[in-house]
Chain length 347, copies 4
């Protein structure tokens, strides 16, 4: 089968023929229809320091996808939940099930997590084998949406953690694809006011499409001052920090109300100077670090949002490429004019 492979240490990936993955007893073999291209894939393509420390080539890349069940292992079949031909997506974190975190309902923090497309072969290929317990039926969710449920789930996790959204004022800092999804999730979850901030006007346009009441561009206005003005001087109840920039952190802490919450997903590449006394302690803030998706509470809520029509992430998809045009996909992301980019592999 075809697969996009990081073959050796260094930039780029190659499309080549590799053997179809073996479907173990408790696995499901999935024919990939669509796959999402993520910032992580860009890091891997570029072979930055994170990538070179983490990956051990050769490895098939790609961790966001949807497809069709092609084969079921013996135990997976016995469980009776899936059948050949089912349209499915999957959680890409494969966890140990035994550590403290797995045992107490925090499997998204499993210390032995294997991520597909990073630590083991991924989804930019005609087929991928996944443990059956990671696989979920689409049941009416469009396959393109299925291909981006991994990052949409990041947004669901970020927005819902803390349980304060209905009637709340939410600021999304950073309107990359996950930020735009977060705007849509905040609206679906009953936020009273959703503000979205980014330097890139095209992204702000996507945020508006996803339901942002007001968009803010820090290149042209004082975001914190505007947030205060739009919230009667209070600041927002929840900041979703998706920018991963120290400047975003400073804005997040300043824009949150006394007693508010900052859920942080954007991963900064360098340290942030924090005045904890002024910004966290005297404000009584709660900060929360978002990793992955709660397994599988996040997925359950997301599926309901998607099936009810409360949330539709597809307007964020701006580009589609075939598998052999990955270089172009990487380029539009680097150009900063893309929303979500997906690969059409085998639909």
């Amino acid at each position: 089968m075809r697969a996009l492979v990081k073959e050796t240490a260094g930039p780029g990936m190659v499309l080549r023929e590799v053997p179809k993955p073996v479907c173990g007893a408790s696995d499901v073999l999935i024919k990939v229809h669509y796959a999402g291209v993520c910032g992580t894939d860009l890091h891997i393509w570029e072979w930055d320091s994170w990538a070179s420390n983490r990956l051990r080539p050769p490895v098939v890349i790609g961790h966001e996808f949807a497809g069709e069940v092609a084969e079921l292992g013996r135990e997976a079949e016995a469980a009776g939940l899936l059948a050949v031909g089912d349209l499915v997506t999957a959680e890409g974190h494969i966890v140990c099930g035994h550590c403290l975190q797995c045992r107490i309902g925090e499997a998204h923090l499993c210390r032995r997590t294997q991520i597909i497309g990073v630590d083991r072969d991924g989804a930019f290929a005609d087929y991928i084998a996944m443990p059956a317990s990671n696989v979920m039926k689409l049941d009416g969710i469009p396959p393109e949406t299925g291909a981006i449920m991994d990052p949409t789930g990041n947004a669901v996790h970020t927005v819902l953690e803390g349980g304060i959204v209905p009637g709340s004022r939410v600021l999304v800092l950073g309107c990359g694809p996950i930020g735009c999804f977060a705007v849509g999730v905040a609206r679906a979850a009953g936020a009273a006011l959703v503000l979205a901030s980014d330097f890139n006007d095209r992204r702000l346009e996507l945020a508006r499409t996803m339901g942002a009441h007001v968009t803010l561009n820090p290149g042209r206005e004082d975001v914190v001052a505007r947030v205060k003005e739009l919230t009667g001087g209070d600041g927002v109840d929840l900041v979703c920090e998706m920018s991963g920039h120290p400047a975003g952190h400073a804005q997040a802490f300043a824009a949150a109300r006394l007693g508010g919450r900052v859920n942080m997903l954007g991963t900064p590449s360098r340290a942030t100077e924090v005045d904890f006394a002024r910004d966290v302690i005297f404000k009584g803030l709660t900060l929360y670090g978002v990793t992955g998706r709660r397994m599988y509470g996040t997925w359950d809520v997301m599926q309901r949002f998607l099936r009810s029509g409360q949330l539709d992430p597809r307007p964020v998809i701006t580009h589609r490429f075939p598998l052999d045009r990955m270089a172009d996909a990487i380029q539009v992301i680097k150009d900063g004019q893309a929303g979500k980019v997906i690969l059409e592999i085998g639909a």
Copy 2:
């Protein structure tokens, strides 16, 4: 001034002239514009056993209202939050501030609560004096809506307690005015599926107007079977029990999913037989008794829902009467064809 007074033990009320209330140092004197008529007022009119045990006539009736600030006590003025002419509504539970419940954030359960229109003079009058701390500005909320924020707040409390609404499936059992408000609140708070049940088709129509996805009439269909069918066999995550009937309780426990929640507001007039083993313990259910409104968390969320336009309770208002037609207001409620009934007093 005019006031509807329960003058002596026994049915009915009389409209007569009474002295304008004195505005104490920390009080606000409010000119009443609109007032809501509640099931409680019907009990008082009828002089049922609850009313005869609780009320000590003479007392001015009415606890749901909105109006205009006419006068401020010295301390209320000093606080600087209100001004003559402000449009306002008020929490009708006047609490002690000193008991355990008041001290730990559960003032809605204060053991020394005085309810206006029940334990002290109420709002079916040209003026009412209220402690300033109970008074809230409408700030753009329509005065008719302001007059029914007390029962709308009951619905907000019932729907939001437990923090599980976004993406959830909610069943509202009993579509009187507060049940209809609950439907609207569940939609505003991001429920994925809102089911509403009542024997009265006119009420079901109001529930649909407020956003119910599906309405169910237990006179014509098996409500629990339909709920199971509509939820893939799971049952709902949250039941809002607004009927106050033992039959409603049985449906609530049966319709909730394993691990689900039943928030109970409808106050039954007789005991319910409960099979705790089957219906609560083996199902892992949580039951919660709803009294009043959280002071003032419920009001804060409600104000945001109303000001953002996420929630508009006015379609539930079906009848309006002047103060001297209270007998007619009582009659339409008894006839069971009314949604919410309000009195136009001094707008």
Copy 3:
């Protein structure tokens, strides 16, 4: 091997030779050292209506036990967490892993739960095979304690649900073994006042041994009046309802403070008449039905309590019998003078 078997519909059990269980690929074969006898086993012995509806003889009885790893299946061995010779105990609920409840962290409510000693072969035998994911190492916890971690875990679940114990006032209604464990758990978790009630003075003595500050006998005193007196008129923050009697339910609702919590574990054999208006709604109570143990949050906390010495359930063990004296074990339980009864099988 020897096993206590319910061979046919009807009272009693027989001790006989049966084949050693087969150890599947993901299973652990455990040589049983000690096993606890539970009220459930009494129901099965007596063959009451619950038992006759649920069990399909022949089945080996017993669901509380500790022992030693005798053999590991291929996958269980590969996981690397257990070794032959390890002292272990196990969660006796074998769950599907796929249903809504399993997916959202409520596996204790899995709709396809198989309970050992009820729905499949159990632990009153020389050996039992268990899925490796249900097995936990004792790591210093005494094996006798290990044998009763299932019911101790019921107590942990009952006491900790709601998260309000530190500094709280707790009433344990019903001092059978799990009630006595609950007393110890409440003390370990920092309750400020632990009250325990039972008709049986011997059980009250055990409750005192486990740390109850005050014991109450409803045969001699008005429990609710005494609770009010001991809590400055407030009532308790948490009632652990372990009696399973309608009279206990009435006391629970009356003894809880306004805004308090009643966690219910005792399973009544008949319906309770509940005045929801007076007892639940106007009091703002929360009721919660306790099934099993949270998998595996409850176990994690329990292991820490046991290893730190904060909790020691062994004083509740009053009788020990060999496997061939099950009839005597049943008799001392029926006589009502026993605390916890254990079987010494292969220590």
Copy 4:
């Protein structure tokens, strides 16, 4: 009466005669018996940048105290909760009651807080007038303990926020008086393992006296490595950050387990460099900034801990001085050999 007054901008305080405070209608005049000296008082004495920006001399200093009711205002008397002669303490944050935070149960974050001894006259005096709603009866709590319930309450707030203490592993970073109180609170609340760290061995001795299982000195050992070793490699569930040093922050983030919690009370005087990706986001940590005491949930739990004997903060008191020896009190604090220092004013 006598009072310690910051008379003018600049270091030091003077003891002089001032008029007895006027007792307003809703106030209580309290004869001060004991008062606690806080780090804040040291800042005020030294007149550092925080003090010079915040205080407007002349102001009587001191915010931790206990004493005896000497006089009640008219409304305070009418409330019927206090009587002349009652031994009392008080919450020193006087809040507005009207802002968002006051209305939603977060009054400790009121944006218009006035702190006694900082923003208005305080307790290092023979008498202080306090709003009755801030005053609480000691009812059996020793007056010396009453004088330090403000900082003990800081510890209660820090330890209990998040609701995870029973059975948990807790690290207290920084063993000044509040850190030592936190050790005692963690034990009272059922922590399974309490670790305490400080550079000062005398403070570690106090931490041991308060119940620390293990003390760690970062001057002699690698605190994070030791924490990992003592928790089976997991790290702790909760870090109470009381040091207020960037080095403490780094240790806190590193010592917390994946999914753990860091409650921060120590207020740093300079910024901390934080690697949010590594230390917060990928670890799924929750950080919470602690200000004051929850009003009055924190006080309610604290009173129960103190009255039950679960917590006794008095071993932390190492020095007592009369009011005219404030300079000596300041000196022993600066010398770093003191635990808690109190002033004996009028017992």
